[in-house]
Amino acid sequence: MESNRRSFLKVSGICALGLGALPVADALAKAALPNFLANPKELAGKKWAMVVDMKKCWEKSEKGCHDCINACHVFHNVPDIGTVKEEVKWIWQEHYENTFPGQTNEFNVENIKDKPFMNLCNHCTNPPCVRVCPTKATFKRADGIVMMDYHRCIGCRFCMAGCPYGSRSFNFRDPRPYIKTELNPTFPTRERGVVEKCNFCAERLAEGLMPSCVESCKNGALAFGDLEDPKSTVRKLLASHYTIVRKPELGTGPNVYYII
């Protein structure tokens, strides 16, 4: 609301000034323009991606390991609503046939039955969620991260209809009371009425840190890196393993790869 009012004032202000006064306004703006810089510690990339090595994930703990989920959800103050209906999740587990529907046959499910597969936002190369958002509250950064601007989201949920991976959660109610763990004071929560999802830890990359799920996995099952950099770990893994992505036929270009 605050920002809307201000933007409105800005727009009407510019209109009132008229085109003739624009150069003046420009000069004034330049003189007063403060400097905004990127964090020098930032991990820079051109196309961030993740490779999930499911074998490593299952190696030590076939079931029940929730380290990455806990790390992410605690760090990002993700609430635990406790119902399927209103569940909020950034990274979570699904079975093979739910993660890769349409890629099952009668027998391949047998040997991976009941094994967990990690699901998270794919930070798609052609993200339908970005395409449909009417306010640019969901947008794609130059480094490939599909970001949410929680101050701008109007809660229309078009992006949830657009995302073919169920990566998005809506805050049906105020999430604060449902954050059961200690709040992480360095990261905000969300509020009622907006959509949220994984952000590839943009705030940690800016500090030069790896995403919290990657950092927390003691089996090294999650690898994160720049696809455009041939020397990156993800590129090496992709070069030496057979990998699959979720629903490649939809043309979204998912950037989370799976080694099975």
Partner: protein
Amino acid sequence: MKMYNAKQIIPGLIIFLGLITFPLWYNMGKAAPVPQPKLDTPAIQKLAQKQCVLPAAQMRTEHMQILNDWRTQVVRFDKRVYVAPDGKEYNMSLQNECMKCHSNKTQFCDACHNYAGLKLNSTPYCWTCHIAPKENK
């Protein structure tokens, strides 16, 4: 000049006047002294030079604009460092920078916001998402 339907119009006018002046007389007799936002937090006391990002007067009038610009830079352009006119650099973050010094939200933010009546419509809505520092009130 004769007024038609004066019976309805005049009481109507009175009610209307009463309603539009409601904010004025609603606060009558409740005039509170202008609050002084408290600055003596441990973090500020440790500072050699007690200087915010910009001069205090400017912060007082422009902090909403500044916070909004910072937010835009961080969220949408991934610019996270602000270089103040005096050359000092700041991490553009309400939770991780502003509130480090101003760790007394109730006496700093709320004192003025409540006085200005901003609480009425629950604005500014910073704290529905952002987490205020723990205070020992």
